[in-house]
């Protein structure tokens, strides 16, 4: 058994695109800064890529103490094998007690494999992180069915993926601080070869997180076209819970919640959604929340500003009529 006390410091795995730091990684810096301050340790970032000079400098405006950089032309685009090897090697070498990743396609490809290699745990889709100072333990808060669970990892490092969109962005400081450490590594790119990367023509992917109005539908909605009409009427876009997406009624890009997107529109209308914990984490930061449900005890009402107890198939047409009046 490793001595857990040898592990110190908080690390953030930074994702980037076209020399820009991804928003989700900035969110991790804001969480990471708090954790590092409470533990009185350094906040470090790991940046892997090609020509990361400007980006690593930019990180120093966000309260980072050390920026570890691994650069190589073959690392231009993420692939599992070399990123995994580098991340594991550096964690073994520098022994941070906490490592944060984002719940993104890259984070979710990399973090579980790193955790497995290091024989440690990984808590997925966290929405908040706290420190139990007495035990020097990371409290990992994530949705668990209808509930919120606080998880702990008994082995070091303690690793999590954090749901993008639930943490406010950190302020950009006026001055740079901290230092950059360039790390040289022999890179083995493994047996995976990228053949092509294409952007879909349809602008349907994404975008739900940019809409001001979201009409979200759950299992209580029997008639999709009604919800569509309401969305049209309010200039909004349709979102959905997991069961609706699983049933193939809306694409995965419209899924809101723990395994989908976290959104903060100005208006969120939850139609026929009971409000499982994993859905609520994706929408509770919305501006105005309206819930329509037949069950007055549905947990969705606990996060709503206004509630209507009723069948969506009756309420929506009446609401559209009222809006057009």
């Amino acid at each position: 058994m490793e001595n857990n006390n040898q592990y110190r410091g908080v690390w953030v795995f930074v994702e980037h695109k076209g020399s820009q730091i991804e928003k989700c990684s900035l969110e991790l810096l804001s969480l990471g800064r708090n954790l590092a301050s409470e533990l009185q340790v350094d906040l470090s970032t790991l940046v892997i890529g090609n020509l990361m000079g400007r980006l690593s400098e930019e990180l120093m405006y966000y309260g980072v103490d050390v920026v570890y950089v691994v650069e190589n032309p073959v690392l231009e685009r993420y692939t599992t094998s070399p990123y995994h090897k580098i991340t594991c090697d550096l964690i073994k070498e520098y022994r941070p007690e906490i490592v944060l990743f984002s719940s993104t396609p890259i984070g979710m490809d990399l973090a579980p494999r790193v955790a497995c290699e290091l024989k440690t745990g990984l808590v997925a889709h966290c929405v908040d992180l706290k420190i139990d100072k007495g035990k020097r333990q990371l409290l990992q808060i994530c949705p668990y069915g209808d509930y919120m669970a606080t998880m702990i990892t008994t082995v070091k490092p303690q690793m999590v993926t954090v749901q993008p969109g639930v943490t406010p962005l950190p302020p950009r400081g006026e001055f740079k601080q901290g230092q950059t450490v360039q790390i040289e590594r022999e890179i083995d790119i493994g047996n995976i070869k990228i053949i092509e990367v294409v952007k879909p023509e349809k602008a349907d992917m994404g975008k739900i997180e940019e809409s001001d109005v979201i009409i979200a539908i759950g299992r209580g909605v029997k008639n999709m076209s009604l919800a569509e009409k309401l969305a049209e009427c309010l200039g909004g876009i349709l979102g959905a819970t997991q069961p609706i997406v699983d049933a193939g009624l809306l694409p995965e890009s419209r899924m809101i919640g723990q395994t989908g997107k976290a959104v903060r529109p100005k208006v969120y209308i939850a139609c026929g959604i009971s409000g499982a914990g994993q859905h609520i984490v994706g929408m509770k930061n919305s501006g105005l929340i309206v819930a329509i449900n037949t069950d007055e005890k549905a947990p969705i009402f606990k996060v709503a500003d206004y509630g209507i107890i009723g069948d969506v198939s009756k309420v929506i047409p009446a609401l559209i009529a009222a809006l057009n009046r």
Partner: protein
């Protein structure tokens, strides 16, 4: 598995890891576990896509499909469904000792079963389970086996002993080429899972079905289940009331007029 000549095709030996999930997700407030009693179990949706993919590949290239599932109770129906879709044999891993396993302990247990079964060129699983949704199992199985992983697959073709996989990422599609052996996790909607007929289901009940306990896998209790899991639940809390909800009262028309006013401002 012996390598056949190119003329005979590739003969893929495929393992598919599947999970049965409760149709409704409810938490037992005392034990912190998901309530299974009285709640119908269903195949995790994207696991059906993984089974469909395996059967399609077998039909095209020849080979054998083995289903593997670990579960707290009898998931026979879920595995039979997979066999009826065209898989050849099923392994059900079940033992009290596996209860409370986190993803690392689960992946470790599944890998032990995979190794016991022999060598697979292709291991498939769904992207995530609809109940816990961690997405961990695929990459962790791949790491335990020391093989390449490709996550978020929406398309796949086998050519010249290589696999070409189209991946669905945040706002783009990436196509990669990998060599066997490889683990691939598939996204729901990558294909249309076939619906087996009653005859298929009847025939499926005659296929090989193995039940393996901790002893069959040659594992020790401290390697699996809750004791073999580095993550633990410390506490659970009901969802917090974060807003004071005003219930709109009156006739449907009054309610909707009120709401329309609120939305317009």
């Amino acid at each position: 598995m012996t390598q056949h000549s190119i003329n005979l095709g590739i003969m893929l030996n495929i393992a598919v890891c599947i999970k049965e999930i409760p149709e409704e997700i409810r938490v037992n407030k005392k034990t912190y576990t998901l309530i299974r009693e009285g709640i119908k179990g269903v195949i995790n949706p994207c696991d059906k896509n993984a089974i469909e993919l395996s059967v399609t590949l077998k039909e095209k290239h020849g080979g054998k499909v083995t289903l593997i599932s670990m579960g707290p109770q009898n998931v026979e129906k879920t595995l039979i469904h997979g066999l009826a879709m065209g898989a050849d044999q099923a392994v059900f891993i079940c033992d009290k000792a596996f209860a409370g396993a986190d993803t690392l302990a689960t992946a470790f247990t599944l890998v032990t079963a995979i190794k016991k079964l022999g060598h697979f060129q292709l291991i498939l699983c769904g992207k995530a389970s609809a109940d816990s949704g961690t997405q961990h199992i695929g990459p962790q199985i791949a790491n335990f086996l020391g093989i390449t992983q490709v996550t978020y697959a929406v398309g796949l073709a086998v050519e010249n002993n290589k696999v070409r996989v189209k991946r669905q990422l945040m706002d783009e599609y990436e196509t990669v080429e990998v060599e066997f052996p490889v683990l691939i996790s598939v996204v729901k909607g990558m294909n249309e899972p076939r619906i087996p007929s009653y005859v298929d289901i009847y025939e499926a009940s005659k296929k090989d079905f193995f039940r393996w306990s901790i002893n069959d896998l040659g594992l020790k209790e401290d390697q699996v289940g809750l004791t073999g899991s580095p993550t633990k639940i410390s506490k659970i809390l009901p969802p917090e009331t974060i807003r004071q909800c005003k219930m709109l009262q009156g006739t449907l028309e009054e309610i909707c007029n009120d709401l329309a006013q609120i939305l317009k401002t």
